[in-house]
């Protein structure tokens, strides 16, 4: 080839944009996203600002639901009691000390070490719905099972405890039985075991008050009968109330320093900082790799139609229709046509002439040839396959007699 004809473009300088138009374009592209982000931030701020936080934890002082205890906590707070809401034993240990009241709301998630830790704080204990812990904390009291007085019912004080007498009547279920002489038991249920009741006090240091049922403390039941009076007097004995609601994921445990530092304590202080530095590296690397050197180039490609597709489709149709006869006829017709052409017969040759010519060429019996070429159609897969093989044999004999 001779030297190719070159087409030259006129020199191009820049892409026709200025800093101003690029900024305008960027603003146009990003403004919707920006508006959405700003809107989300505003909504988040609004949601975070005014409303004090609430939870849905049972008997929590910030739970306004019927099974919460925010009403009691708020009344106590208004009366000058500082309520410290804690969920971890470690925090209990930090906040509770002699001269404070420690409320244990339900003991279901406590283990023995944790109960011992509660006792070790030296704070006055107020146990609500904590029968098992009660037995571990004092030998004067024992919780009765659910079988005894399990219905919530109004009960009279029927004892000398000033708190109980002030309350007069409460609504509660369950019972605590006194085992020793130091325990005062109030609010016996109907038909209960002797010296048992919903509320019990073991005087001493620390003082232990137990309520067999959480119903008087709950928001739903606080206003019934004398519940409020009992609960407020029980929890309001000191200026500081540690409100402990055990949690499942509390691993701080009763296991104090003796079991060694936790995993978090073992990690050096620099590790999170190095992580932060690596985050910076990652961000820069992402920006480095993320910028493409120019856009992707698109190319319309021609359609791809595979050859033989229609033929295969037809074969599959035959198979699905189980058209063995049809397929056999096609194979026979192909063989007959090729044999006839090979033996010099015209396309319009009669079957008999074809059979005679093929029989002569191969030396086979005309009957078998006729049966093979024009016999009954095959009816199943194996017959069809056999027919195909036989036709191949016949054809090869005609081709190379």
């Amino acid at each position: 080839m001779s030297t190719p004809v070159l087409t030259r473009s006129a020199p191009v300088v820049g892409d026709g944009t200025t800093a101003r138009t690029r900024a305008a374009g960027r603003w146009r592209r990003w403004r919707v996203l920006l508006a959405i982000v700003v809107g989300l931030v505003l909504v988040a701020l609004l949601a975070a600002l005014p409303e004090p936080r609430t939870s849905s934890v049972r008997l929590a002082p910030d739970n306004p639901a019927p099974d919460g205890a925010r009403a009691a906590a708020q009344i106590l707070g208004r009366q000058g009691v500082h309520v410290h809401y804690v969920r971890r034993i470690a925090d209990v240990r930090a906040a509770a000390h002699p001269g404070t009241t420690l409320l244990v709301a339900s003991d279901r998630l406590l283990d023995e070490d944790q109960v011992d830790a509660l006792a070790a704080t030296g704070a006055d204990l107020a146990l609500v719905d904590a029968g098992w812990a009660l037995e571990r904390l004092t030998d004067q009291l024992r919780a009765l099972g659910a079988s005894a007085s399990s219905d919530v019912e109004a009960r009279d004080a029927a004892c000398d405890d000033p708190d109980a007498r002030a309350a007069g009547t409460i609504t509660a279920a369950g019972a605590v039985e006194a085992l020793g002489p130091g325990a005062v038991v109030c609010f016996p249920g109907s038909g209960a075991v002797s010296r048992s009741g919903a509320y019990a006090v073991v005087a001493g240091s620390p003082r232990i008050a137990a309520l067999s049922d959480a119903a008087p403390l709950e928001n739903a039941g606080l206003a019934d009968e004398g519940n409020a009076a009992l609960v407020l007097r029980m929890l309001g004995r000191h200026r500081d109330l540690v409100w402990y609601v055990p949690s499942v994921d509390d691993t701080s445990g009763a296991s104090d320093a003796s079991t060694g530092p936790s995993l978090v304590d073992l990690v050096p202080r620099t590790v999170p900082l190095v992580g932060l530095a690596l985050l910076l590296v990652l961000a820069v690397a992402a920006l480095w790799r993320g910028r493409r050197l120019g856009r992707l180039v698109l190319e319309p490609l021609p359609v791809v139609v595979r050859s033989g597709e229609a033929t295969r489709g037809r074969g599959r149709l035959y198979r699905r229709a189980r058209a063995h006869g049809h397929a056999g006829a096609a194979l026979r017709a192909g063989t007959a046509t090729r044999c006839a052409a090979r033996l010099g017969l015209p396309r319009s040759a009669e079957p008999a002439a074809v059979v005679a010519a093929v029989a002569r060429a191969t030396g086979r019996e005309p009957g078998t040839v006729a049966h093979l070429l024009y016999g009954p159609p095959p009816t199943d897969d194996s017959a069809l396959t056999r027919l195909a093989r036989d036709l191949d044999d016949l054809e090869s004999e005609v081709q190379h007699p």
């Binding site: 820049g14 120019g294 198979r319 195909a388």
Partner: protein, 430 residues
């Protein structure tokens, strides 16, 4: 704004730093420093928009041959420009290298060449030229993509031109033989010359001999100035891939070889690529420019997924041809398509012209026909057998209408069509 790996390395210095001074402030301060350094560097980088770019690219190149696109970059700004340049082309243009470094002092120019080895026929339009400059610290830079127009037409490969010398030799043979032996309809009167010993006495023109007093013989030559009309079917049957190339490509190869041969033989060649409308047309071009015109016109023809409108083809042929001609239809011998379309109208063509139908055969069908592996394969074989029979039947019907039917594998179609042309010419059937 674009960053380099150096910016990442700079950011990574935060790790040893934080080990020396373990505080959150260290990381934040360092991040601020990295950001400021990158912004400063980008601000000091040369503007990629202050570069004059000029592109020179060949107008056309034959498929599988190599072309070069040359970019001339002139720095019209005041800053020293360092960076990367990408000359983007579509994938099938086979462009390389994909990115090139450039170092361009102010008011100087550099030439960057991109090698193009196209893998597909058709027009390849250059995409944007992207320039990424870096600042003096090589931390960050600026980037712009600029439209620099450029187009490369990839012509058909014309691999079948290797068959041309042998066919031309046969043509010359035909030429020489005509003077001596053949006196049939395949030749036409050329001139008179004096008798030399060895000439066929039957060639003596007695009337001229009487006039001149010398013995004079007539000489003959193959007929010339016949018209060859090639129709390339660009409909759905041409989109089918046979041996991983569309039928259309084999048709184009055959058309090019036939055109080259016929123009050397002195015939006038016209070409039409058609599906439901005219996709390409080459007519009234003299022999010197015929081949380039054909290649150029056929370069951009792609098969469309539509049924070919054969009555439209016939109308086009009749409009262009007033005298007898050789009409070559490069299509597929697809039984259903032929029966629906061509068979109905081909009579109008054969009435006045010699018609040849050349079709690319599909080796896959033959393969399917021989398969005997299992019942499914036998069913496929039966289907292939049935398709073969139908094809034979339709070919027979076409032959009955006076059409010369030719079926060959993609590689063999072009030489077989050339042979058919030579045979028709020798037989004087043009």
């Amino acid at each position: 704004m674009a960053l380099t790996w150096r910016a990442v390395a700079l950011a990574a210095l935060a790790v040893p730093l934080v080990l020396l001074v373990p505080a959150t402030g260290t990381v934040l301060l360092w991040a601020l420093l990295v950001v400021l350094a990158c912004i400063l560097d980008a601000a000091l980088a040369a503007s990629p928009r202050r570069v004059a770019i000029e592109r020179a690219v060949p107008a056309s190149v034959r498929l599988t041959e190599r072309a070069t696109s040359t970019l001339t970059l002139t720095n019209v700004g005041r800053r020293h420009l360092r960076g990367l340049v990408r000359d983007a082309w579509p994938p099938s243009a086979g462009a390389g290298p994909s990115r090139q470094p450039v170092d361009l002092p102010p008011a100087e120019a550099r030439r960057l060449t991109t090698t193009l080895v196209p893998t597909r026929r058709g027009d390849r339009v250059a995409d944007r030229v992207t320039i990424r400059t870096v600042g003096p610290l090589r931390l960050a830079g600026r980037q712009a993509s600029i439209d620099v127009p450029g187009r490369l037409r990839v012509l058909p490969e014309f691999a079948s031109r290797r068959h041309l010398p042998s066919r031309l030799a046969r043509l010359r043979e035909l030429d020489g033989r005509a003077a001596v032996q053949v006196r049939g309809p395949g030749t036409e009167f050329d001139s008179l010359r004096e008798y030399v010993v060895g000439d066929d006495v039957r060639a003596i023109d007695w009337r001229a001999t009487a006039r001149r007093g010398d013995v004079v013989v007539r000489t003959w030559r193959p007929e010339r100035d016949r018209r060859v009309f090639v129709v390339v079917d660009a409909g759905r049957t041409s989109a089918v891939r046979v041996l991983d190339a569309p039928r259309l490509d084999a048709s184009i190869e055959a058309a090019l070889l036939l055109a080259a041969l016929a123009s050397r033989a002195g015939d006038r060649v016209e070409l039409l690529a058609y599906d439901r409308r005219v996709r390409a047309r080459v007519a009234g071009t003299g022999a010197p420019r015929l081949m380039s015109g054909l290649a150029d016109a056929l370069a951009t023809v792609d098969a469309e997924l539509v049924e070919t409108d054969w009555s439209g083809v016939v109308a086009q042929v009749q409009e262009r041809l007033s005298q007898r001609a050789l009409v070559v239809l490069l299509t597929a011998l697809d039984p259903a398509a032929v029966e629906q379309g061509l068979l109905g109208v081909v009579g109008q063509l054969t009435a006045r012209h010699q018609v040849v139908l050349a079709s690319v055969a599909d080796p896959e069908v033959a393969e399917l026909r021989a398969a005997r592996d299992d019942a499914a394969a036998v069913f496929d074989a039966a289907a292939a057998e049935r398709v073969g029979l139908e094809r034979q039947a339709v070919a027979t019907r076409l032959r009955q209408r006076g059409v010369e039917v030719l079926e060959a594998l993609p590689d063999e179609l072009a030489p077989r069509l050339a042979d058919t042309y030579l045979a028709l010419k020798a037989a004087g059937r043009l």
